[in-house]
Amino acid sequence: MEMLTNAAGREVPAEINGKAAVPFQGVGKHRPAGNKYASPIPTCIDYPEDNNKVVGSLREALEKCGLKDGMTISTHHHMRDGDLVNNQVFEIAQQMGVKDLVWLPSASFPCNDPLIAMIEDGTINHIEGSMNGPLGRYVSNGGMKGMAVLRSHGGRVQAIQDGEVKIDIAVLSAPSADAFGNAKGTGGPSACGVLGYAKADYMYADRVIVVTDNLVNLPCFPMEIEGNYVDFVVVVDKIGIPEKIVSGTTQITKSPDRLLIAELTASFLEKSGLLHDGATMQAGAGGTSLAIAVYAHEILKKKGWKFSFGFGGSTKYMVQMLEEGQMGYILDAQAFDLDSVNSIEKNLNHIPYPVYNAYNYHSKGNLTTMMDIMILGATEIDVNYNGNVVTHSDGLLLHGIGGWQNCLHARNVIIPLPLFRDRIPVIVDRVTTLCGPGELIDVIVTERGIAINPRRQDLIDSVKGKGLPLITIEELKEIAESICGKPEKALFDDRVVAAIKWVDGTVIDAVRQVKK
């Protein structure tokens, strides 16, 4: 396979699954050309006059969409680990004897592990999407026929819009839908709150199937999937297992060490002035991020300040800020817990906001660049502040990129992490897989000190002499190695099992098969 060295010095494949690929050119260097992809022009003639698009079964819908070998099937992940639809699509394909499909999920979950069998028997050729847990391990060990492609949430919608990947059939679960195909994330037994990951799929797919367990009268309002893009509606007993779709309640971490990191981060936000009246903030649903949100909330209350808006995934902690007056709006692509789902239904300032509108780099503006405070995680950070989120230091592919790369474009990117996990150092010489360039990562907060990227002299100056434990990233790496010992590097074969895309569709790194 021909390999090219990209602008970050990483060896990447010149082509992916037979299609030429552009190596990473540097942040903000690649210019797209041409027009967006457009699906074939449909006509009303082909759809029932009463607009009742309900068909008898998912299999019938897939057959009517012309499911055949080599097609690309997209799904979203709003049913999370409770998803009961996505695996079914491939079980039906398997029964029909269809081969070599490409699965384009917005994320995968442990409930999707049965699909490994579909990769083995050739039903699925490869996956373009996140690879978690056993699925990632399987790919890392070279089990998949085609090359996996990992994209950020924003990169996924960019690739769909730009025609880098063409969706033949989008199968979109919807907690509520009407017979015309209008659909939304609230209502019914499988409510997930928001369908923020479905927009590019229904707009650009050749064929769109909406699957629901809650058929409502037209109009299903406010619709997040618009019926005039939809081919068929399928009604099933259950699209998901409710307790696995959203957590009953998200919890801040109980680990004293993580809480210490969260306190340090909040203290950094306060002392640096990044936290101020009218600021914008985004933090994930991980236990440490939630603790930071809670501490930030306390600071806002103390000062009488307010975030102008926060970007979801939403949690009850954001909802509390919204309801108690410390957050103006929640713009939300996904709801992580029941409190958030309920909030979307009742609070007009809690607004569904698709990733297509927020994260797409090939767009006329990008919401992430408006965020003052961005709290992210990572599996590894290196001494040049480069970040890895997809592989562990043992080389195994274990996570998706999620919105991580997109969020790096925020004004201030802060990554709170433990310096080592058990014996595994998190600050390393060189990240195993490059997912985000160091020029976009500003602050690393660990339990043993805060390292600020030297490119951000302004941030260094803002906290100088304010009692924070500042340290260089090299010192952090040395402390980690003095406690844990110097780790051996993972060993790889030559074969590339996955390509890592940057937000603009270029290839930033490749993941190789791990040596047996």
């Binding site: 004293p256 060490d257 809480l259 210490l260 230091s393 043992d394 080389g395 996990r421 058990d422 014996r423 595994i424 339990e447 043993r448 406690i483 844990c484 010992g485 780790p487 051996e488 993972a490 060993l491």
Partner: protein
């Protein structure tokens, strides 16, 4: 060479940063290592080499070693291997990891002991970050938190931790076992720059003196220059009655702690949240300690989820005269420190008194007054203490007197 099998350490889905070694010393067949480790690809070779070196240190040439590692740090692996080998061979030889130079700091008799964090002696995962939570002291516990069959391996693990783990300036304390086993504990830990020994279930001055004498012998033997302080824990009715004698048993006794779980059991009543059953014991202990010129330290608050309850407990404890409290969770540390710290009002008042005293001294006046009020020497002394405390806790700067005092 003795033969036999020993299983040392911990493994299982919830275990982190520990290792279980299953060692069988055999007659022949060389050394066979089966390594299962969650960090195998990064540290597999390092772990195997470390184990081989340790076997070689003890002259073992034939063994089957099954390892189940959950990401243990090298000092833990070393302790587990040593404990396994010594359990089989009865070898007394110690394999000491390097003493970190930063662990050689000394303590003082009168340092603050608001918060002392208990670390169960056989759970290495809790050691490495303990000092980061900034407790005044860390207690590596060999007594109640270690199950009887694990006592020997915990002692070796604690010894290694005292050498290889940086506790970031916290006073280095060990709670030893009662009786003979406690003396074995002392033999092992005293040479590791231990600052303070907690003596559990202390009932008489005589028993405490025996511990003190044993430590003295070890200090001479190992040429240890710095003192080893004692904090007896009073946990019985007899102990309460003897509190003052215990406090005066040795000049090394710097604090007297009370343990209420065992005390209430001895009293034959349940321990309640209000604590009426232990008011006398606590008062008696405070008075005994203050009379002996040492610190009275309160019992732990066992509901780690109830921070409000903890703060109330600290407030009433401080009001009774206690000067510190045990912590069983790192999150209790800041609450306890805040609780024992002087309040802003107390600090402001103390500042005024100290300044008035300085002014009076400068002017050669024999009488100190603030406004129209005369101030007695003990009040000045108390204000000095409060200021010292506030500076030490970072509540006011060291050069506070150069700031303008707000009226």
């Amino acid at each position: 060479m003795a033969q036999g099998v020993a299983v040392i350490g911990n493994s299982g889905p919830k275990v982190r940063s520990d290792i279980e070694v299953n060692l069988e010393i055999t007659r022949s067949g060389g050394i066979v290592i089966n390594l299962k480790s969650k960090v195998k690809s990064m540290y597999g070779h390092a772990i195997e080499k470390q184990c081989l070196d340790i076997l070689s240190f003890y002259g073992i040439k034939n063994a089957i070693l099954n390892i189940d590692d959950s990401g243990a740090l090298p000092f833990v692996i070393s302790a587990r291997m040593e404990a396994a080998i010594r359990a089989i061979t009865g070898d007394k030889k110690e394999l000491l990891p390097m003493m970190l130079p930063e662990n050689m700091y000394v303590s003082e008799a009168h340092r603050f002991r608001f918060s002392r964090l208990y670390l169960p002696g056989n759970n290495p995962g809790m050691f490495i970050n303990a000092g980061l939570h900034n407790p005044d002291g860390v207690i590596l516990d060999l007594e109640d938190s270690v199950a009887p069959p694990k006592k020997d391996e915990a002692r070796i693990l604690v010894r290694n931790a005292l050498r290889a783990v940086d506790f970031y300036g916290a006073e280095r304390m060990v709670r030893i076992n009662q009786g003979e086993r406690g003396f074995d504990d002392l033999d092992c830990v005293i040479p590791q720059n231990v600052h303070l020994i907690l003596v559990p279930k202390c009932e008489t001055a005589k028993s405490l003196k025996a511990v003190d004498d044993h430590i003295e012998k070890l200090r001479v033997k190992h040429q240890i220059k710095s003192p080893v302080f004692l904090m007896p824990i009073i946990e019985s009715t007899l102990g309460v009655e003897n509190a003052f004698e215990i406090a005066k048993a040795s000049p090394n006794v710097v604090a007297l702690a009370i343990g209420l779980e065992d005390y209430t059991a001895d009293l034959g009543v349940p321990r309640t949240r209000e604590g009426n059953e232990s008011v006398y014991a606590r008062n008696r202990l405070v008075v005994a300690a203050k009379a002996a010129g040492i610190q009275p330290i309160d019992s732990v608050f066992s509901d780690v989820g109830d921070m409000e309850g903890l703060l109330n407990n600290v407030t009433s404890s401080k009001a009774m005269g206690f000067e510190g409290m045990g912590c069983i969770h790192p999150r209790q540390v800041p609450v306890i420190k805040q609780g024992f710290a002087p309040s802003p009002d107390e600090i402001e008042k103390a500042k005024k008194i100290v300044l008035a005293f300085r002014k009076a001294t400068e002017e050669g006046l024999g009488v100190v007054s603030l406004g129209t009020k005369m101030i007695d020497p003990p009040v000045v002394a108390r204000a000095d203490k409060t200021i010292l405390l506030a500076v030490k806790l970072g509540l006011i700067p060291e050069d506070w007197s150069e700031e303008k005092i707000t009226e």
